[in-house]
């Protein structure tokens, strides 16, 4: 090192000394440093309509300090406190609301931690696009954030929703999605998918619906919970309700038009080809039921355009196995019994899909994306009928659905258990 220094020219040595002196100044950080203590970690954003042209935005933020206490708690004797808090802000638009939110409390809003955007029913019926504009521009918010539509007000869901068994509602929603996709009840829709569908000819987006449901059992767990931490008017423990995510809300040209029921939602999921090990229960023989655990293999929708109108051939392939038969007379190892179960499964799926198609025609919203298929096969025709598609053509389209259900396994048991006389 000494020799190296000696062989350097004076200028170079001066530069080195200067660099050594200047470098420590950088260690203090620069303009874009972020202090963890000065951030409000927004996990859920709820947007509601407020008056004719205002919004009521609810930010749910975690308090990391409380999070740590809640986990280590118990022994200390301190009452468990909620690790999150809600702030509701009335404003002109979402961007305005963020500013007011940052005035109301000292921290800078951090949207990188957001999991869900919930849109209240009233606002969704008026149109979702204006309030989502802010999120398309915000660099910190990614397009994989989920969007949902609330039955009623989004603020109620954030204020009254009970996060148990998790401690933060956002985690509850995350778990629900990850689990529920597996049992074919709902599927998550992220912000990017919503935007893609909004700006695509002949298809309307759908969003999962979130609502409050009464608690299953009046358990006394968490009785000592106090709500002093909450700056908002918090509800009493007895009013806390369970978050339920089951069905879908469907949009038409960016406006919520209807909520689907559970049959229609499943029909929509079958058509999306996204179901993964969902259970369908079908009549087996006599008064008993059999359950089939199935997942989508392939969905193909081909439009047939003729003089009289449009016909859609929908071909759905399903694969699965028998999860329960409940009747000793039905033996899934016998081909004819298995064949009958497959038929019943096909019938059940067909009914679901029919219900979804009927609903789509009834509310005149093309959430199944039938128009998109026409646009893809015949873009010139679409230019003529596109404007009137939802109101004039969609209610009259014919569908020809064929479902092919293939049962390949019978679980760990072959035949049913038989009592021996």
């Amino acid at each position: 090192m000494k020799r190296a220094l000696k062989s350097m020219s004076v200028v170079k040595r001066l530069c080195l000394v200067l660099a050594i002196i200047l470098l420590p100044n950088i260690c203090a950080g620069c303009w874009d440093r972020v202090e963890l203590e000065q951030l409000a970690y927004v996990t859920v954003v709820g947007i509601d309509r407020d008056g004719p042209d205002g919004v009521l935005v609810t930010f749910q933020c975690v308090i990391p300090r409380m999070l740590a206490r809640g986990q280590s708690g118990g022994g200390g004797g301190a009452a468990p406190v909620k690790p999150y808090t809600n702030y509701s802000v009335k404003a002109r638009n979402v961007s305005d609301a963020v500013r007011l939110f940052e005035i109301k409390q000292p921290h800078k809003a951090l949207f990188k931690t957001s999991t869900v955007i919930i849109i209240g029913e009233d606002l969704a019926r008026k149109g979702v696009i204006p309030s989502l504009d802010f999120f398309t521009r915000k660099p910190a918010l990614r397009r994989s954030v989920w969007v949902m539509v609330a039955e009623g007000k989004a603020a109620d869901i954030l204020l009254k929703g009970d996060p148990s068994p998790e401690i933060i509602p956002a985690n509850n929603i995350r778990t629900a999605f990850q689990r529920r996709q597996d049992v074919t009840l709902t599927s998550s829709v992220d912000f990017g998918q919503l935007l893609s569908k909004l700006e695509r000819p002949g298809v309307d987006p759908f969003m999962p619906e979130i609502k409050l449901a009464p608690k299953l059992s009046g358990g006394t767990a968490g009785q000592g919970e106090t709500s002093t931490q909450d700056q908002q008017k918090d509800v009493k423990e007895g009013e806390k309700q369970v978050l339920e995510i089951v069905d879908f809300g469907v949009l038409k040209l960016g406006k919520l038009v209807s909520f689907l029921d559970i049959t229609e939602s499943r029909g929509l999921l079958w058509l999306q080809g996204k179901t993964n090990s969902g259970t369908i229960t079908v009549p087996a023989r006599g008064a008993s039921w059999a359950s089939l655990l199935v997942s989508s293999k392939r969905v193909k929708i081909t439009p047939v355009i003729s003089q009289d109108g449009f016909l859609f051939n929908i071909d759905i392939r399903i694969e699965g196995y028998v999860s329960s038969v409940q009747n000793e007379a039905v033996d899934p190892t016998k081909p004819e019994d298995l064949g009958r179960l497959e038929e019943e499964g096909e019938k059940a799926i067909l009914q679901d899909v029919m219900a979804a198609v009927k609903k789509s025609q009834e509310v005149r919203s093309d959430f199944l994306g039938l128009g998109e298929k026409i646009y893809e096969t015949d873009p010139d025709l679409w230019k003529e009928i596109g404007e009137a598609w939802r109101d004039e053509w969609l209610p009259n389209v014919q569908v020809d659905i064929s479902v092919n259900c293939k049962l390949k396994r019978t679980g760990l048991a072959a035949g049913p258990v038989q009592p021996i006389p």
């Binding site: 620069c30 303009w31 874009d32 398309t136 660099p139 990614r142 397009r143 994989s144 990017g192 935007l195 893609s196 700006e199 695509r200 998109e372 646009y375 893809e376 096969t377 015949d378 873009p379 010139d380």
Partner: protein
Amino acid sequence: MLDKGRISSVQLMLVLFMVEMATAFLLVPSIVAQAAGPDSWLSVLGVATAYGLAVALICVALGKRFPFQVFTEYLPEVLGRVPGKLLAAAYTVVFIHLTSVVVGENSIFIHTVFLRETPPLIINLMMVGAAVYGVYLGVEVLARANEMVFPIFILSITILLALVAREIDLDHLRPVLANGPLPVLKGAMVPAAWRGEVFFLLLLYPYLNQKNEALKSAAGTVLMSGVFAATVTAVTIGVFSDLVASRQIYPVLNLARYISVAGILERLELYLIIIWMAGVIIKLAVFYHSCSVMAASTLGLKDYRVTVFPIALATIVISGRLYETDYLKLVEFLSKFWPFYGYTVELLIPGLILLVAVIRKKGGNRVDF
């Protein structure tokens, strides 16, 4: 020759690829999608590549005539002393402007996405500092540094695209050619100008050690970037659909942010920013090298290095005045003026020079490719 360096034909190919792709992969998809819709990948793959090949042919033909001189050195020889010097000076000025556009592209991207509070001047100083250091070391060092950056660049983007591949909805790429070929041609205007940056061959040709492989490298780089850019564009539109992609200013960034594999592999946009910076430093270095060589040869200097520093400062000031963090102004230039600007500088003028050289029998007479 102002630079004593030597580069191989493969190095030349990789450098030219990086010169185009370093900024094109991020900025082009959105601009193309605005004009060409679902057919954007066709514009990028077909029309732009054809234009790039034309530029490559002309540049190689010119290079063969003057194998040991850069473009601005033989301009006076071809056109006569005064007009030649004037055109050479014009080229220098144009390329100083183009370099400041690249500086602006960089500071705008980093500012909008990443460092909101840091003054753009600091970002520029750091990037330009790195590039200028490379220029001082010469073209050989640049080519070798690029050999290190190139695989990382390609690999990172390929991995990003592969990870986001499951979000692709092939329906978004249909219908093909719904509005006829016109939108495809229109969409190709901007990527073509980028593809034409193979023009830098004219300023790197003298350093090439195997001159007979110049056309192979140039054509290779045009085809390679065509396939690469078309893949990026197709994936972008496949994931977002064309209208949504055209509304975003950096759709590829959003692509990277979309990745979520099993809840573990997330927030990969950092890789994008790393490769962006690595690529832009190489691109800037090649631009600065060319600018300073042009300036030095126009002024008749012995060493190009004296001009690097003033040019670097000039580009920082120009980009600060013109663009700084003004995305709207930049995109207006890129989508409205840059194509015509590019066609003139890359294809039209070199083509005319070649014509004059052939007519006036200047330079080596071998025009065989």
